[in-house]
Symmetry: C2
Subunit: 402 residues, 2 copies
């Protein structure tokens, strides 16, 4: 009888099991997972730069080492410098004199390692009331208490955050997806970002600002990152190339104080050592030689249409019945169902009866509470599929509420 | 003042600091790190297969997804199948009906995840008396007690292992590098492997068999893996392409019972999601289309010469003064210095005065005890460098002992 560590959870919510079981059934459309539209991947460009990397290094005596040896936590210099220019330079998320940028196997690894270096078992991490499930699970792997704090359309409510910080001396981290949050698609205002940072300094806790979506904006004005407000080294900014280049390159990065990043980098080496050199070099070349902003603008045109299609379909099909967020970017929208509707049961019903995959709100809550809300992804389905799905969801809701 | 988790250790041993400080100094030769000789990397072959992967998928509608989307813990089927054939088939390390093979970012990630899924804080993991430092550090990241058990040239001593298992009901894992161990270069005999397995079953603990070196044999006969003796699902076999293909592909794998691998795979997704699709596909194609055994035989010819050069130089320079292991494979040899010589101080002395990097025995011990032994790597230096280094080490020893 295999005895796993306590951090390994038991079975899953049966409603989730019913949803997952429908995934590969014929006729099923998914508004579930939050991945980019594969048509946005710069495949031809990455093919070109990958091939060029081999040629470029042909006359370089360090050829095989550069491409095929270990690259420890720092990452290939060519990649680090282009990321520094973009994220510490253009986007001001970090101060080159005080901060260090390191690369990781996606922002997911940053999330895991931040938990690892800051959280003792029993320590607390504060997250938005509804937050990214993959982060909540990673935090629990280090036996932390994960506490959701009241969050409205402007972000975490500062009074609620301060109350949580005051109540628990073992809070070590605040995890936030301040821009186009997963799962709600909301954006924390600049005033709330400042308030969150001020509280982090006051209570001396670290903010992990997970920002994989901020460059995917379809409307509204750029809001500076929390990291750009950081004068004291209390903020770690986690970024990712998964949504703007491709998830398959498995490259994310983090910017934090030199002291913090040295410790996180050492733990990265204990976990996976480095990222593959070839991919790092091919992506660095892509970022250096192609116009990433133009590529992102093109992706945004596609995603904007999909978002607008979803908002319009919701208005047509569920206006006056349900309410929803109006994301200015990212991949998700949060649909609040009529009072008393179980998000868990409704999602399972829609999967089984209407052949549409949606994920219930409980999946994003540290308390796992079954609430009357579901997350809808609009980045993957086509506009036609979005129309069809929202119709099926609306039909399903009418039937379900009978 | 940043407060890290307790698992984050304090400063390092000052002797190690003195050694590391010499690394990039002019004239310094390293017998320190244990990486492959870069001349063995099949760079031209991987260049060819990488380019072909792009062509192969040109007419495949899943092109961009296969290369650039997420690949979760399972890995690309093309890679999994070729690894299954080699390691579960040819080397019989796993039973396809009962076991699952998953891919990871090197065997390092398997080590980390095995600790994560089995060790609660305060649980115990047993390792060989001298063991891989990167594993010991990873185990401590999960706040485990790491206990070294008496090990002789035939492997872990079964009586000592049973005593340790009896004494501590919280032992959950036994970690072993049974073939060409890091740091000692020794090989556990078949009888000792069987004894270790029988004890694991008797006390119901899991063996993590870390085997990155077993295919690099320069003399002697193949000894079956502990996993090949496993009838009960008590063994996880961790393998790696780092030493036989290249570290930069960052691909390792693990074979374990379906139940265990399901849990480890889920935790992998929480940590890094998957490995890059492009690299997985290029390596799978390389393994399928080229003769890996011939490639390994060629690398072994190179490493055999280096090992022989080191053994000969030691005999010439230190015969009668010190003693050493006689590895039949792998990258390392363990040099025992005269009684009373501090491995820590001697290694620092040799780095500073003789410009040779060697790592002290204490670096490989869970108890960190300063012992009269050092690890010597022979995979990286040339035969000439090996001769020169052993001369310098012998000179250093004479001076140091005055």
């Amino acid at each position: 009888m295999t005895r796993f560590a306590k951090r390994i959870g038991g079975g899953i919510n049966p409603a989730y099991g019913r949803i997952f079981a429908m995934f590969d059934q014929p006729g099923v459309i998914s508004l579930g997972d939050g991945v980019p539209d594969a048509s946005t991947f710069p495949a031809a460009e990455l093919e070109k730069t990958t091939k060029e990397v081999f040629e470029d290094f042909k006359n370089d005596s360090s050829f095989t080492n550069k491409l095929f040896s270990y690259w420890e936590s720092a990452g290939v210099p060519e990649l680090v410098s282009v990321l520094e220019e973009r994220y510490m330079g253009k986007f001001e998320s970090g101060n080159p004199e005080k901060d260090t940028l390191l690369t990781f196997a996606g922002a997911q690894q940053v999330i895991d390692l931040a938990a690892r270096v800051f959280l003792d078992p029993g320590d607390t991490i504060i997250v938005e009331e509804n937050s990214y499930g993959g982060a909540i699970t990673a935090f629990r792997s280090y036996e932390a208490n994960v506490i959701g704090v009241a969050t409205d359309e402007e972000g975490i409510v500062p009074e609620a955050l301060e109350a949580a910080l005051k109540a628990d001396p073992n809070v070590k981290l605040i995890y936030t997806i301040a821009t186009f949050s997963n799962p709600m698609g909301i954006e924390t205002t600049l005033a709330r970002r400042q308030a969150m940072y001020d509280l982090a300094v006051k209570y001396d806790v670290i903010i992990l600002e997970d920002s994989p979506y901020f460059e995917l904006r379809y409307s509204g004005e750029y809001i500076p990152s929390i990291k750009s407000l950081d004068k004291t080294g209390h903020v770690i900014f986690a970024g990712s190339l998964s949504k703007i280049v491709s998830p398959g390159v498995r490259l994310g990065f983090a910017i934090g104080s030199k002291e913090i990043m040295q410790v996180i980098g050492a733990e990265k080496d204990n976990q996976t050592i480095g990222n593959p050199g070839l991919i790092q070099l091919a992506v660095a070349k892509y970022l250096r030689e192609y116009d990433l902003d133009a590529h992102i603008a093109e992706a945004c045109d596609l995603y904007r249409k999909k978002r607008d299609a979803m908002l319009k379909a919701l208005e047509n099909e569920l206006g006056g019945v349900a309410s929803w967020t109006h994301p200015e970017g990212g991949f998700f929208l949060w649909l609040t169902l009529p009072e008393g509707v179980s998000g868990d049961e409704f999602s399972a019903y829609v999967a089984e009866q209407k052949k549409v995959i949606i994920y219930p709100g409980s999946m994003y809550r540290p308390d796992g509470k079954d609430i009357n809300a579901v997350r809808l992804n609009f980045s993957v389905p086509t506009e036609e599929q979005i129309d069809e799905c929202i119709k099926r969801i609306a039909d399903g809701l009418r039937e379900f509420m009978k």
